[in-house]
Symmetry: C2
Subunit: 176 residues, 2 copies
């Protein structure tokens, strides 16, 4: 019975490790996609500047920094995840991972949501505030930033799953 519980804890730890690698991919892909997005149109008028870059929007800069921090944390967290595979009975690393993962859920969600609000505005504009849509001009820019936001939301879902799994593992500790 105790052996079966040890095996299920190890199985949870291995899934934790794999999901962390998926989240690293998603956050770093989001950050790199946002950071390398740059579109210039071959014409201009005195009223409009037809060049779009991620640092034109503070929300996109925050998105890049937030996802880079989350990606960096997830790389470092692989060590603790490995400790959980080697020593599945240790509750300390699980608790630490759960706490930091929760903070990263908040950081990644904040960066993805603020960027999503701006991407939505770029696609649709807002007639009440007289904010015009810019995606008709900057199609490539809008497609890439939308993709980056989707990747970041995938990372949020994976991070929430990681918190659930850490909580389940702590619960199993409590039943041993």
């Amino acid at each position: 019975m105790a052996r079966a519980r040890g095996d299920s804890r190890r199985c949870l730890s291995v899934m934790d490790f794999i999901l962390r690698i998926v989240a690293i991919g998603a956050t770093l892909a989001a950050a790199v996609t946002m950071g390398t997005t740059n579109e210039s149109l071959p014409f201009f008028t005195p009223l409009f500047r037809f060049q779009a870059n991620y640092d034109d929007m503070p929300a996109f800069t925050f998105f890049l920094i937030g996802n880079a921090i989350a990606g960096g944390y997830l790389v470092l967290s692989l060590c603790y995840s490995m400790v959980s595979i080697i020593r599945p009975r240790a509750a300390g690393p699980r608790l630490l991972l759960l706490i930091f993962d929760t903070v990263m859920v908040a950081l990644t969600t904040a960066s993805a949501s603020s960027a999503a609000a701006i991407v939505y505005l770029a696609h649709n504009g807002n007639a009440s505030a007289n904010w015009v849509q810019i995606c008709q001009q900057f199609q490539n820019f809008c497609q890439r930033t939308s993709g980056a936001v989707i990747a970041s939301f995938i990372a949020v879902v994976v991070l929430i799953l990681l918190v659930f799994m850490s909580a389940l593992a702590l619960r199993r500790h409590s039943r041993q």
Copy 2:
């Protein structure tokens, strides 16, 4: 020794209950403030419509719905929190609260961050996208929406603390 652990678990449960009431206040205050914000200016031009309401911006509508859902959940969660006070050894309610609290961290952060991105834009505008600032005209509207966003971020911090406390309580279970 076992009695001391039981007392500390009960203490955590009582703090959990109090923090939930604080979070209910913050989320509902945020939702009500956003929902009741409406400003009309006594003049207009053919170019601009000088009326501001929360449903002019999809991000503000999402903010209101997100905070209302979080507030409603927190009210319901008080029952489970009370079960934890009465039966501090029960790990089941703790685990359930931790899982739903984590989802609410994501929902509240998403609604607060997307609204914050729009409030920032309303205050500062964006020269690259030719989005003009609107807070010079709608000062009251901007002040109230900024206040609602701050209240929502306070709720996020409290929800993160609730997740930490549930994790600590589960850890204590594992050491009993």
